[in-house]
Symmetry: C2
Subunit: 303 residues, 2 copies
DNA sequence: TCTTGTTTCATCGGCAACCAAAATACAATA
DNA sequence: TATTGTATTTTGGTTGCCGATGAAACAAGA
């Protein structure tokens, strides 16, 4: 078959997987209806990629029945944008982060010694060396591990330590409220309403196994979004690093459901204030929210 | 000759070069006298390395005449520690940073397009691919460049932009004074006095060509030292990143000598306050110092 | 002319192998 | 016994190559 020259039988590649949710996001935010024509070049430009991976992703969606395809006519929505089920798609949390997560987790659980070499890790986790190096560099960025001068890598003694947790909150407590108060702070009303929807949906839905990850990502998006609105790239970078660190350190929520409710409620309160541009109060609430979170102790895990 | 099995004729390797100043630093801070015996194992342990590179570094120093070597007796200081001339040694500003510096510089000068591929860079700068990748990742860490989703890398539009400068100062203005005021802040008196010496020496010496780099590194050490004293690893990481960013963006001082004097004076004032543990005033001075610096505009360069 | 289909070219990442040198174990000597 | 000298093992940076795939040019059809 000539028409799938560029799509391998084994399925979508990494880039193509990453593209899928973004394409669906565009379809949704554009409010496209059934029958709308998806132009390849336009998508490619908006996604900062060439047509090739876009085509592949579209073909994948066509196979899933989300799109219809007719020769010489391209891809067309087979259903309204907001009815597309998201769960069929691989959530794709950035693969490389997955590995960081796994290694950090193994270290915390004591399955890895405090000092390791690349070779050991390569033997333990079957992965290409360049990938491992990028993983290690990424862990080093958030100070979870450190290159020894000669050979070998040294995990920070205190990954799981309460100390690191405290420092992290101290840091965020400094940056996040300051962002909200920055003169350059400007929040997109659309972002506010979308964020509110997500929180309300989280509160409404029953607690499932996967909710933990969803919750984490929603929280991360909330905090990063606030800082992004201050339009200071360095603050944003710093907070993103914190997010990554926390992602590696605790992906699962162990504080009980009532804390979920409390956290969401606090977020919603902050959003309300920001919707009315009451930034002083919002910043104060944010500060208290972080304080509340920092006071929690993991009840179950014996770290 | 069997005795130099481990030292290649082409000279010290990267690790060995990095070891040289650290060894000399240890000799100095231990206040060793002429004739003192340098034990290999002890050095290796203190430097977190094996004996091999230590030996090589010591042999190098012996060739330079700093040490004497006798068979079966090891290395011995041929002169008192504080009389060792530091300038014969390669200063070694972390090679990888050198490359970042060069690439960032070429971009700023317009010698590189806004969008590049790995292959182009490999052709332009002769370097191994893994090294280039680490350089690019490092530049990405400070938001000077960004990986496109598919192929290619995109320089941030505003490397040299006044905007980035402003954001950087805003960020540091937030973090650095907060560090000084942190409850955990604790400064080593030795650090204070050494830092004061360096500043006084800088003021006393005439302005040479190389003073620019010296000045930059001294400033960096000053600001990083203050933040390090707050004992919050994330604040420290953030400030170190800022330092690296500034190192890449402007290694040369273009504000005139009177600003050098002013800056050093301000630093000394802050050090005085800190010596008396007057942290509130020190923090205020630090804030003003950063404000002063942020208001400067590069007079000469036409970016 | 604009969009899709097809082909070509360049790029990138994985893989295997190589080699300098770092780590380590062992021998020799003060 | 402590320290240096020597040999061995292991590591990690480097190189070259190959295949998958993204980018880009071209062709064809609405």
């Amino acid at each position: 078959m000539k028409q799938e020259t560029h799509l391998r039988a084994n399925g979508p590649t990494r880039l193509q997987r990453d593209l899928l949710p973004r394409i669906i996001g565009l379809i949704r935010s554009d409010g496209l209806e059934r029958g709308a024509h998806l132009r390849e070049v336009a998508l490619a430009r908006r996604l900062q990629v060439s047509r090739t991976p876009v085509r592949a992703a579209l073909e994948f969606l066509a196979k899933r029945g989300v799109l219809d395809w007719r020769p010489r006519r391209g891809f067309v929505l087979s259903q309204p944008g907001d009815s597309i089920a998201a769960d069929g798609l691989p959530p794709a949390p950035a693969e490389i982060d997955q590995l960081c997560l796994k290694i950090a987790g193994d270290r915390m659980a004591g399955r890895l010694p405090i000092e390791v070499t690349q070779a050991e890790l390569l033997r333990r986790y079957a992965m290409p060396r360049p990938l491992l190096l990028r993983v290690l560099d990424k862990l080093a960025e958030v100070a979870l591990i450190e290159r020894k001068p000669g050979h070998g890598w040294l995990f920070s003694p205190a990954i799981d330590d309460a100390q690191a947790r405290m420092e992290s909150y101290e840091f965020r407590r400094l940056i996040e409220p300051a962002s909200v108060l920055a003169p350059s702070f400007k929040l997109d009303p659309l972002w506010i309403s979308e964020m509110r929807h997500r929180h309300e949906a989280m509160l409404a839905a029953p607690w499932r196994e996967t909710s933990s990850i969803e919750l984490f990502e929603m929280n991360a998006a909330f905090h990063e979004g606030l800082v992004a609105a201050a339009r200071n790239r360095f603050m944003l970078i710093a907070v993103q690093q914190q997010t990554r660190l926390r992602r590696f350190a605790n992906y699962n929520w162990t504080y009980g459901y009532e804390r979920v409710v409390a956290s969401c409620t606090e977020h919603l309160e902050i959003l309300d204030r920001l919707a009315h541009n009451d930034r002083e109060v919002a910043a104060a609430l944010l500060r208290r929210h972080l304080d509340n979170a920092s006071k929690l102790r993991r009840p179950t895990e014996p770290y």
